[in-house]
Symmetry: C2
Subunit: 518 residues, 2 copies
């Protein structure tokens, strides 16, 4: 029980202390010490648990959140989205500094200053601020009760033990996330084998050559960052890169621009290739791989980065409650986040892909609303998506190829136009102005895919800078029952120069009864 | 008449030649040489003329565009929005390089490399590419006929002379823009007095100290750029800065953050101050001003930048056609862009403020649709807006102060929260990650203003990076008849980390029946 609110600085000190001392005490933010039956106990206070419990509290109910970490917010601010964004921002800046080395106000690029380890240290030193803020906000603004730095043991569907006490609730909501699947080949345990989580915890020496295992977003994002710092990076992927099953709607034109850009910046991309072993005696010295022709090659490196994907952290709760799971260990839920056990909900990465923030948080909201008696369903089969290379890549809806398979009359608006992609410095806007004037071929590519018959937009695709934020609203507009037509787009008010140009480009075609490509 | 399409490189060469030679010939892109009565002649092929004529053509009609410049697109790519964006991007990058000087991968900042003149030269050398593209696109993709590098003389409402020939049309559309009002005080003609148009044409020496006259967007934008390069800049404004009549809905909290940021970066802001004279013998040496206490002071400088606003370029066409004008010389039109003379339309900056791209282009579309027989009205009294300092500042809808005047139950969602604005490194996302970890007080500020009763959002406000693009769609959503509620926002799919955080912050409050601030 706390009788006062900690401010941000106090929370930050308390969290730092708890993370440093293995024997640190649980942290309680409970309204009283009496026996309470909570409306729901949230096991896990990550994105899903924090947003879901806050929603339930806002609806007037009484949730309790328990998390093993001394902070709320989960892996996002501690190991996942936040460091990824920090590294990707650094990658974009380093990339620009290289292209403009010695030109304009850019000094000669000094690669010796570019360091993965420096950025990891910056992240480690600063992550406590976001942790503190989320504890502060959850306590003082959202008024949610929680116990942190305490492992929750699920006893049954109404009972959880934590911090030496037993808590009772009408409902349980499980949101304990996923973990990076370890590599299983020989050498997988060697120092120098890292993943997105262990990178920020364990990196202690600057790597010089990296081999990334995997072909999804994480591979592209961390690979682009490593390469931008001067750590030569090879991506080893069984599938074609960004054609992994968990990614949908990646347009082939955008993908090609992206991969060409990665090669142009010196990365080696090996598709159809699989890892056989990590080599090294007491530290990684190489990755042995089998290429598409069956040849075995050793790629020398001092960092093997495991980007093979995550697995739901479901074993303990499945054993305790008899929950049904899918083929990858994910807990099966219906569209209201209900598991097969009455009163037990599961949310976030624990229920499988997409392991994205919007899904985690909205799962939490869905569980909260259903617990509070509002039968709200959440369908996350379609959503806007993004990744970083040294660019921001954002998309929603159908790719051009998917659209052509499903519709007879597909119109594409593309910039730069097909056939002159490398001549024209568009799209230029925030983030690409200098490129537009000095390196036009590096400014990006955009595409709007339209069904000519209904005039509805089927998909938006962008590689460049500055458009990511807009895709949240384009997603909403596209997925309205009435959709979004080229005519409505053309009547919107653009903020020129705007990074994705969709409004004004649509206006150049919207006057035509029969649509044609632009 | 052209019998083939020029490609981009050919257009670029032709435009460069035309701009260099005062006696260069007009450029014709006409479908045939026969006598034609066009559906409309567009006098001026800037933003309004290019988009409007393209729309009319798309509707199956036959427009002819005539422009005095050898390119379409008008002042935007030649002197206005494009250089402004280039300079503002440079300002943001220079600003970051200063804050991080000597840290991480940033070398010691070398101010001697930062040069206004270098960026002006980069712009001059590169602007032909956008010009060429617009000519190419208008000719080959949009199939609009045009005559460039030719002054149009309006004879009567159906007749225009240009390039030694006479052209006839059912309608005229006037879109010949606006010009920077010259300073009228003594010394206004001295070399070293520049504005947004003459800066990119005439700058020949690196300025070291600048005085900007005016307190609107242009003053903030160019002033922030000059200061970022190391040219010490003073803004001299009669009104409070960004409280000029042509700007509406600027939130006071955002404004304060912005102005404090400008001062923090070394700018001098003098409000309630007016220019008396520009001093100097054969070149600017100072600006004599009267401060709010009536004292006269000379501010030493080698650049006086005139940012006092623009005036419609209406004199010649008013004289030729007897058009009605408003108090600032702007041509008066109705919501269909019709002037008082039948068959004569006016569009773009020529009809007065807001002198923004969306308005120009959509005026053109409105004229086109009405000419083609579709009675389409365009109301531009409300729209999303933005400006740059070293930040991007974007807003739509009511400011917090305006909302509190008009509604009884106003809720504000703000990040960083009120009272701890300088403790918390939010909003962090693309563009503010490094700041979030190393200079949290520089990350920005956002605000969402809500009517608690209807739960509708009244206004969105953001200073930071990366949110501008989204405001185009937020504007559309806000201005739907049904508006946009906090509940709908909270159910959207965010792309986390997203620069403006509106979706997830709304979700933290949407569960409550009675809304409260966050």
């Amino acid at each position: 029980m706390t009788d006062h609110y900690l401010d941000n600085a106090e929370w930050q000190a308390a969290i730092a202390d708890a993370l440093e001392r293995p024997d640190s005490e649980p942290m309680f933010n409970l309204r009283d010490d009496g026996d309470v039956v909570y409306d729901a106990i949230w096991v896990g206070g990550g994105a899903a648990g924090r947003f879901g419990s806050a929603y339930l509290r806002a609806m007037g109910k009484r949730p309790l959140v328990i998390d093993r970490w001394p902070f709320l917010g989960g892996s996002c601010p501690h190991q996942a989205c936040v460091p990824h964004h920090l590294f990707s921002e650094a990658a974009a800046l380093l990339d620009r500094s290289r292209w403009f080395s010695g030109e304009l106000f850019f000094p000669e690029f000094d690669e010796s200053r570019a360091s993965i380890l420096d950025l990891v240290k910056l992240f480690r030193a600063g992550r406590g601020s976001a942790h503190a803020f989320m504890n502060w906000q959850t306590q003082s603004q959202l008024e949610v009760e929680f116990i942190l730095n305490a492992t929750a043991e699920v006893v049954d569907r109404n009972t959880v033990r934590a911090a030496g006490r037993t808590f009772t609730a009408e409902n349980l909501v499980l949101g304990i996330g996923a973990y990076q699947k370890p590599l299983t080949c020989p050498g997988a345990e060697l120092p120098g084998v890292l993943d997105w989580a262990t990178l920020v915890e364990d990196l202690d020496e600057e790597p010089t050559r990296c081999v990334i295992i995997g072909g999804g977003k994480v591979a592209v994002e961390y690979g682009s960052f490593f390469q931008a710092t001067g750590c030569h990076t090879t991506i080893v992927s069984r599938s074609p890169i960004l054609r992994t099953p968990s990614l949908h709607h990646v347009d082939e034109g955008i993908r090609r621009y992206l991969l060409e850009g990665m090669r142009l910046r010196g990365m080696t991309l090996m598709e159809g290739t699989s890892l056989i072993a990590v080599e090294g005696d007491d530290r990684v010295t190489g990755a042995r791989v089998r290429d598409p022709d069956g040849r075995e090659i050793t790629l020398e490196c001092d960092l093997v980065f495991n980007a093979t994907g995550e697995r739901a952290n479901s074993d303990a709760v499945v054993a305790a409650l008899g929950l049904q799971t899918g083929s990858a260990g994910e807990i099966l839920v219906d569209s209201r986040m209900r598991t097969n056990v009455e009163g037990v909900y599961a949310v976030g990465d624990l229920i499988g892909p997409p392991m994205e923030m919007f899904k985690a948080r909205k799962c939490g909201m869905a569980a909260a609303r259903n617990i509070a008696g509002e039968p709200w369903e959440f369908d996350f089969s379609e959503y806007p998506d993004f990744l970083h290379s040294t660019y921001e890549v954002t998309w929603v809806g159908l790719s051009e190829e998917e659209a052509r398979e499903r519709y007879d009359d597909v119109t594409v608006i593309q910039m730069p136009p097909k056939g002159i992609e490398h001549e024209i410095p568009l799209p230029c806007a925030e983030g690409t102005m200098l490129y537009a004037f000095a390196r036009p071929e590096l400014t990006g590519l955009l595409k709007c895919v339209i069904d000519g018959e209904s005039r509805r937009v089927l998909g938006f695709h962008h590689i460049g800078y500055g458009a990511k934020d807009a895709f949240q609203y384009l997603d909403y507009l596209l997925r309205r029952p009435e959709g979004l037509t080229i005519d409505e787009l053309g009547e919107m008010n653009e903020l020129f120069l705007n990074p994705e140009h969709f409004i004004q480009l649509s206006r150049l075609r919207a006057g035509r009864r029969e649509l044609v490509d632009l």
